[in-house]
């Protein structure tokens, strides 16, 4: 069987973490993220915050958007170790796409063969692992990122196709800002497992 993009396709708006819900962070989180690594936590408070971002880009060009709290970046990550941001990323229509990188310059989506990584300078590889507006539309976003305090930068490369003159590229970040409390989930609780992003690069 061939699937265009093997992701869960919900029939309604994607579910987000809700009050009183438990999560478990993977043991694969690095030791620098010991405040979450391998821990169970419960959502004690939550609020949704929207942040749109737009760039007008010339055809056949790209812009890297760093979502972290580094200088010059968008600062969409938590700034204390008690918070978890569940970030839904929606793209408005146009002739453009994003390629996610983590950390910073390493593509998240690639294939096994050594040369099969996204590469914007290559006519074929610039489309590898891309996420198009129809894959994660702004009114029903499927691209999701879990950000914790001190997570290394996540970069979204906004790429505009050749032959379109200029494109106005808009992303909408729906940030579910959760304050977490460590604990032990009661038996039978539903626990959301949160992988470290590097685990996608097996």
């Amino acid at each position: 069987m061939i699937e265009l993009r093997p992701v869960e396709v919900p029939t309604t708006r994607p579910k987000i973490l809700l009050y009183d819900q438990w999560v478990r962070f993977s043991d694969k989180f690095p030791s620098g993220l010991s405040h979450v690594k391998g821990k169970y936590m419960k959502v004690a408070k939550q609020v949704q915050v929207t942040y749109p971002l737009t760039r007008i880009i010339k055809e056949n060009c790209y812009i890297d958007i760093d979502l972290s709290n580094e200088d010059g970046a968008e600062r969409l990550f938590p700034d204390n170790d008690g918070n978890l941001y569940e970030i839904l990323i929606g793209l408005r229509p146009g002739h453009w796409w994003v390629i996610p990188y983590f950390p910073a310059d390493q593509p998240v989506y690639r294939l096994d063969y050594p040369t099969m990584s996204p590469l914007v300078s290559d006519a074929k590889l610039r489309y590898l692992g891309n996420i198009r507006p129809e894959d994660s539309p702004a009114d029903d976003p499927l691209l999701r990122l879990y950000a914790v305090y001190k997570l290394k930068p996540v970069v979204l490369r906004m790429v505009v196709d050749a032959g379109v003159d200029y494109e106005k590229c808009s992303m909408v970040f729906d940030i579910n800002r959760c304050h977490m409390e460590e604990g032990t989930p009661p038996e039978g609780s539903r626990v959301k497992f949160i992988e470290y992003i590097d685990e996608l690069k097996f």
Partner: protein
Amino acid sequence: MPAIRATANTSGAALWTPTSGSHWKAKLDGLKIDNQSPNAEKIELLDCFTTDPSKTNAAGATQNAEDFNTIVASGKIRLQVTVPPAEFVSLGEEDLKGHDFFGTVYVRGDTVSSDCVVVAQYHHE
């Protein structure tokens, strides 16, 4: 949806200006041009905006920001219609599909005539 009226003007009359950093594209829903002057009028819709600095896909070279805000000299012409004297032209959604605007939109005629009226209907999305 808003509808804006302007008269033909060789230096360009603003139809609408999005807020700075707007996250929306404007799309035309309808365009009506009523040319009651004795001359044919060439009407252009100009899109004026500034791009963001980027890098080229080919080599990663810096692509500087470009400024298309000098209305007549640099505005991107998105639509052009020539209306004969004493004629009325009405374009609907089908005719205007795909004409997206990123920034401030100006209407410009090739002669100055208050007798040539342009009404544009649009929305942002």
